[in-house]
């Protein structure tokens, strides 16, 4: 529990809290380790508080019949579940872990209390939410204006910038998702993703193996990611 509270202190939204407030928060917040592929909550569930990721990855997604669209992939120090602060408290998406993931849950009452007593925290929560809004707006832009190659390239560039390990051969990124999951992020099918990977490999921009993707030319991949062809 001490370790989780320390991680909260590293997140800018919580840095304005006094030591006394923090101590109170640490008594009500709970930490849970989720196995991979576990649903944390479903779309339209009534949320009981805010979730903050300590380690691991969580995907936010919506389902339409048998098709899935991933809206965002969150990592450590990201949060989700701010809908708990609205009137109906209903989640706008599913949230599920992609790997073993440790998550801190801050109950609704504690969040309300923090909003009431701390104006800086209020502003920080609003900033969290507008960042998510901007992320969703960018997703809409990508789905509307970028073709599949550009969307795959954009995803790879994003992963490289957040999780990539620079080596002499290029930037290595561990395989976080199956090709099916990758397809649901960018709004296409697994077969199209496979063909796109082959295309980018033939262009000597990436090398794909079972455990990782090696980006050979990040600059060129960025150029492709920025192209709007639709």
């Amino acid at each position: 529990m001490v370790k989780s509270v320390d991680r909260l202190k590293q997140i800018s939204a919580f840095q304005s809290l006094s030591p006394l407030t923090f101590e109170g928060l640490s008594r009500t917040a709970t930490t849970t380790e989720y196995p991979p592929n576990t649903i944390v909550f479903q779309q339209q569930d009534v949320l009981t508080g805010l979730y903050v990721i300590v380690s691991g990855y969580v995907k936010l997604y919506r389902k339409s019949k048998d098709r899935v669209q991933i809206l965002a992939i969150l990592r450590d120090e990201d949060f989700f579940g701010t809908e708990c602060l609205t009137d109906n408290r209903m989640s706008s998406s599913f949230a599920a872990t992609m790997t073993t993931t440790t998550i801190i849950h801050i109950p609704y009452d504690a969040m309300q209390s923090l909003l009431e007593i701390n104006p800086v925290f209020r502003s920080a929560v609003l900033q969290m939410v507008t960042n998510r809004l901007r992320q969703f707006a960018q997703l809409v832009h990508n789905l509307a204006f970028r073709d599949v190659t550009a969307r795959v390239a954009m995803l790879l560039v994003s992963r490289a910038e957040f999780d990539g390990i620079m080596t002499l051969d290029g930037v290595r990124i561990p395989r976080l998702m199956t090709q099916n999951e990758l397809a649901t992020v960018i709004g296409t099918s697994r077969e199209v993703v496979q063909r796109t990977f082959k295309k980018l490999s033939k262009m000597s921009l990436i090398e794909v193996s079972r455990k990782e993707i090696l980006i050979l030319n990040l600059d060129e991949l960025r150029i492709i990611a920025e192209e709007e062809n639709r």
Binding site: Q127, L133, V140
Partner: protein, 233 residues
């Protein structure tokens, strides 16, 4: 006409229905009135954020443009609602989309600096903004889902349902084909062909600038959308 917004006008806005008279008074004192003609841009993507905009009368469309000029509608904002909330607290500070008047609009804007002062001084105003933001989030999440998983036909049908208004017992949509194309993220010609197909099977009736929905429930049926879109795509 005065540039100030009265507390009475403000009270009519859904966003402020839970606030008390003092809070309403404080907000109205911060607001400035602005009028725009149809087609006029209120702000552009990338502009510095000016503040939070409320619609007293009229409709505004929020759109993103690609570098080639193609437009994707994010939403239509009606009277009583607001827009421009994203940049107020974002580290980016610029507007992520364009806002354009669809009709004659009367707007009330709270300048950015005043919004932050109000948030700091009053938790109810922060809560009101959170509610607004989450409405937006739900809308954008649904739009992402539509673009990623639905056929164009399904998106057009969903757009018709979402913008239907009742007039003399008839459900009508007062949008042009171009407006629908912008909202759905496709070309006007695609919309026109799809609507023609729906009209041929008596689901809708097209008039100049108005579409009557004769069988709204049929629009919700996936097979109706598939049949029409098979000819569209």
């Amino acid at each position: 006409m005065t540039n100030q917004i009265s507390a009475i006008e403000l009270r009519k806005l859904k966003s402020f229905s839970e606030l008390d008279n003092n809070q309403i008074q404080r907000i109205s004192q911060c607001m400035v009135r602005r009028n725009y003609a149809p087609g006029q841009f209120i702000f552009l993507e990338g502009d510095d954020s000016t503040g939070l905009w409320f619609i007293l009368d009229g409709k505004v469309k929020i759109i993103k443009q690609s570098s080639s000029g193609r437009m994707q509608g994010l939403c239509l904002v009606d009277s009583g609602k607001c827009f421009g909330s994203c940049p107020l607290f974002d580290s980016g500070d610029s507007n992520p989309a364009d806002a354009q008047a669809l009709t004659d609009v009367v707007l009330a804007v709270i300048p950015r600096q005043r919004i932050q002062e109000l948030i700091y001084s009053d938790v109810s105003i922060a809560t009101t903004l959170l509610e607004i933001y989450h409405d937006r989030m739900d809308l954008l999440a649904k739009l992402g889902e539509c673009l990623g998983t639905w056929t164009v036909g399904m998106r057009i049908n969903d757009c018709l349902i979402a913008h239907a208004e009742t007039s003399a017992d008839v459900q009508q949509v007062k949008l042009t084909h171009e407006d629908i194309a912008t909202l759905v993220g496709t070309a006007r010609e695609v919309v026109s062909r799809h609507l023609a197909e729906l009209e041929s099977i008596n689901i809708i009736k097209c008039h100049p600038n108005v579409i009557s929905l004769l069988e709204i429930n049929a629009l919700k049926t996936p097979c109706t959308a598939e049949r029409a879109s098979a000819n569209t795509l």
